[in-house]
């Protein structure tokens, strides 16, 4: 009967004691492991989702702050400038793979047929309006994010982008509606007009552009949202409206906007007629500047550096990670709570186990006295007790491994709402290059799975907890002497 045989005998022949310990470890282990599992699953889901998305950081205006400035009557709004963009590129270039931004304008023309909404919305002066979406680089943001895919033809060349050539990319639906194929040229007659004092339209200029269709895109549909499909917002289908977008070089839009501004300004009595200088800053039409980074691990470094260089409170950097955290708020808060639960359980396990094991040690006072009377070393007696409890603990932990997956999914179902707290409106989703993560798809990719590292970590945590608890409980033995069994 050496130490190990003694430990084994004690485990298998003193079943009630073994069962009590087993149940305690099972309960504590389940709480610990299931919270550990959930924490790790949230992290994994986040990583997996972020891995799929390109590492993009968006620089955009903080609209609340802008609103405040307007309310305070601040005249010179600190708009972002091309100089700012160059400075950022110079300082943080090593993090940037590419960056793109999209200037915007609207063209009033009846030369193309729009894809209409079912509700029959119309804009402007009874004439059709096409949203023009500009592009700075050949691999523009929508292509980079996979939000759009060129299915026929090609993207812009560097030269077309620099010169602002009248080349256009459109959706396959719009092309079909107008019987256009890649390579076709078509003329757009565009009108610049305004209202007079009697709210009557005054046509100021009519421009003719000979466009060439160079590419056809297909848009990825927005994630389906509550009730109806994605685009609906107040009865207006933004997803359908997107099909009417004309993709053009930024330079073209910039030139057109300048022309428009001059025409209107002339009408209102020359330069300065109601317009401020900032209205001529082409970047004011840009919703966001989108930086594609070399690696998603460099979000923080890039943002810190770029924000310092920019030094403008009105603009904020947002990364995919920020966006994930926003949308996945319920997951993040669940993760936070269970992270605490894990450490609290771990800490209280030591206390609970130490108390229980202390009771066990007291109960075995006589047996320990006998070992001492037979000349056994105290260290070896404590070792025997540790072997016993660790063995039972490992069995308990192994059982917890099988049951905690189930428990974790029960907890998740209980803690996670099936609907997002706040739904991102579809038009925002389309406008922001980042807001492509939706709650439903997060929930879909969230699943509780055990991995080896978690199990190993859990076993180490349990074993260390038991050893510490047993050592605390065994302090009693140290001041125990064999003579006590003689009476």
């Amino acid at each position: 009967m050496n130490l190990y045989q003694r430990a084994l005998a004690s485990i298998v022949r003193r079943i009630p004691k073994t069962l009590i310990l087993l149940i305690i470890v099972l309960i504590l282990g389940n709480i610990m492991l299931s919270s550990l599992l959930i924490v790790q699953s949230v992290d994994e889901t986040k990583e997996a989702m972020l891995r799929e998305l390109p590492p993009i950081v968006s620089l955009s205006m903080d609209f609340e702050k802008y609103q405040e400035l307007l309310e305070d009557g601040v005249m010179d709004i600190p708009w972002i400038t091309f100089d700012d963009l160059e400075n950022i590129e110079r300082a943080a270039g090593k993090y940037i793979k590419s960056y793109d931004y999209s200037m915007r304008t609207g063209l009033q023309t009846d030369s193309l047929k729009r894809i209409e909404q079912e509700g029959g919305f119309s804009f402007g002066f009874g004439r059709q309006t096409f949203n023009c979406v500009g592009t700075q680089i050949p691999l523009f943001t929508a292509l980079e994010t996979g939000d759009a895919e060129i299915i026929e033809g090609r993207t812009f060349t560097q030269q077309e982008l620099e010169q602002g050539s009248p080349v256009v990319i459109m959706s396959k639906e719009l092309a079909a509606e107008n019987d256009l194929v890649v390579g076709d040229t078509f003329t757009l007659e565009c009108v610049i007009s305004t209202f007079d004092a009697n709210f009557q339209e005054v046509v100021l200029d009519t421009l003719h552009y000979d466009f060439q269709l160079i590419g056809i895109v297909q848009y990825k549909s927005m994630p389906a949202q509550e009730e109806s499909r994605g685009g609906m917002f107040g009865g207006f289908d933004f997803e359908r409206e997107r099909l009417n977008n004309l993709l053009l070089p930024n330079r073209f839009i910039r030139d057109y906007n300048t022309k428009w501004m001059e025409t209107i300004s002339n009408y209102y009595g020359g330069a300065g007629g109601g317009f401020q200088e900032a209205d001529f800053n082409p970047l004011t039409t840009v919703p966001s500047i989108n930086y594609v980074l070399n690696s998603s691990e460099e979000f923080d470094q890039f943002v810190r550096l770029a924000a310092t260089v920019l030094n403008n409170d009105l603009y904020v950097f947002t990364s995919q990670e920020d966006n994930f955290k926003n949308v996945a708020q319920p997951l993040e808060s669940m993760r936070g709570i269970l992270n605490y639960v894990f450490y609290i359980t771990l800490g209280s396990s030591v206390v609970v186990l130490a108390l229980v094991l202390f009771a066990f040690v007291r109960d075995r006072k006589k047996e320990i006295g006998i070992y001492l009377a037979l000349g056994e070393r105290k260290g070896r007696i404590i070792l025997q007790l540790i072997i016993e409890t660790v063995a039972v603990g490992v069995i308990g932990a192994a059982l917890a491994v099988t049951s905690s997956t189930y428990l974790a999914s029960v907890i998740t179902n209980f803690m996670l709402p099936t609907q997002p707290v706040e739904e991102t409106p579809a038009f925002m989703m389309m406008e922001s290059v980042l807001a492509k993560i939706d709650y439903a798809s997060i929930l879909q990719s969230f699943n509780i799975g055990l991995d080896v590292i978690t199990i190993v970590f859990f076993f180490i945590a349990i074993i260390l907890t038991i050893i510490i608890a047993q050592l605390i409980a065994s302090v009693y033995i140290l001041r125990y002497d064999p003579k006590q069994i003689m009476v």
């Binding site: 009967m1 050496n2 130490l3 045989q5 003694r6 005998a9 004690s10 022949r13 003193r14 006589k366 047996e367 006295g369 006998i370 070992y371 001492l372 009377a373 037979l374 000349g375 056994e376 070393r377 002497d481 064999p482 003579k483 069994i485 003689m486 009476v487």
Partner: protein, 224 residues
């Protein structure tokens, strides 16, 4: 030749601010091959004396030598596992183990050279002391008091030590069992050349001993 020599041994317990001496300046020696009985009334210090002999308590004044070497030079634990076998009034067996397992526990703790086949030795020893093979494989809680005490004696002998110390070993058994156990101790001393020291308050036990010592008022006297 004396195997155990007690020199000027005194022992006291703290009674509030006062030291109360239980043993006072004891000088005695024990030889191999003899059966000693230490008589004394309850509370006279028998257990205290035996626990000092058995290295279960720390010596305060005086000394005890085993084969010429002072206890002070040994680790108390080592004396217990390698040099002495103890038998108690309340048997002190481990209740969730069988008789043979209890014997094997002692054999696994000692550092003495033991025969390879310990299990056989343990069974034979138990058999020699009247515990059959079937009983040897029973949990000790399912043996009678006398049988349990035989198991306890077997455990003390299993490490093949020269000295057996017993504290009122027949205190919990009936008269016929008492006689049988005393016979065992006599045999161990006379046939196996052990030094057997039995503490008792029973005159019957004392009458069988080679040497009777009486503990009274802290002093130990030999009856002639």
């Amino acid at each position: 030749m004396a195997i155990l020599t007690v020199k000027n041994l005194s022992h006291h317990y703290q009674d509030g601010d006062m030291r109360r001496y239980v043993l006072k300046d004891i000088n005695v020696s024990f030889d191999l091959g003899k059966f000693y009985a230490i008589l004394g009334q309850s509370g006279s210090g028998k257990t205290t004396f035996l626990s000092l002999l058995g290295a279960m308590d720390t010596i305060q004044e005086g000394s005890i030598e085993i084969a010429g070497t002072s206890y002070a030079e040994y680790d108390a634990n080592a004396i217990r596992r390698n040099l002495i076998g103890m038998v108690f009034q309340s048997y002190n067996l481990i209740d969730y183990m069988t008789a043979v397992e209890n014997v094997l526990v002692a054999m696994s703790i000692t550092e003495r050279e033991l025969p390879q086949d310990r299990k056989t030795v343990a069974y034979n020893l138990l058999d020699y002391l009247g515990i059959t093979r079937t009983k040897a494989d029973r949990l000790v809680t399912r043996l009678s008091g006398g049988e349990q005490q035989r198991v306890a004696i077997a455990r003390a002998l299993a490490t093949n030590v020269d000295i057996i110390l017993a504290d009122e070993p027949t205190g919990n058994v009936d008269e016929s069992t008492e006689t049988e156990i005393i016979e065992i101790f006599k045999m161990l001393a006379h046939k196996h050349n052990k030094c057997v020291v039995v503490v008792t308050h029973s005159q019957v036990v004392a009458n069988e001993a080679d040497v009777i010592l009486t503990l009274r008022k802290g002093g130990l006297t030999q009856n002639e």
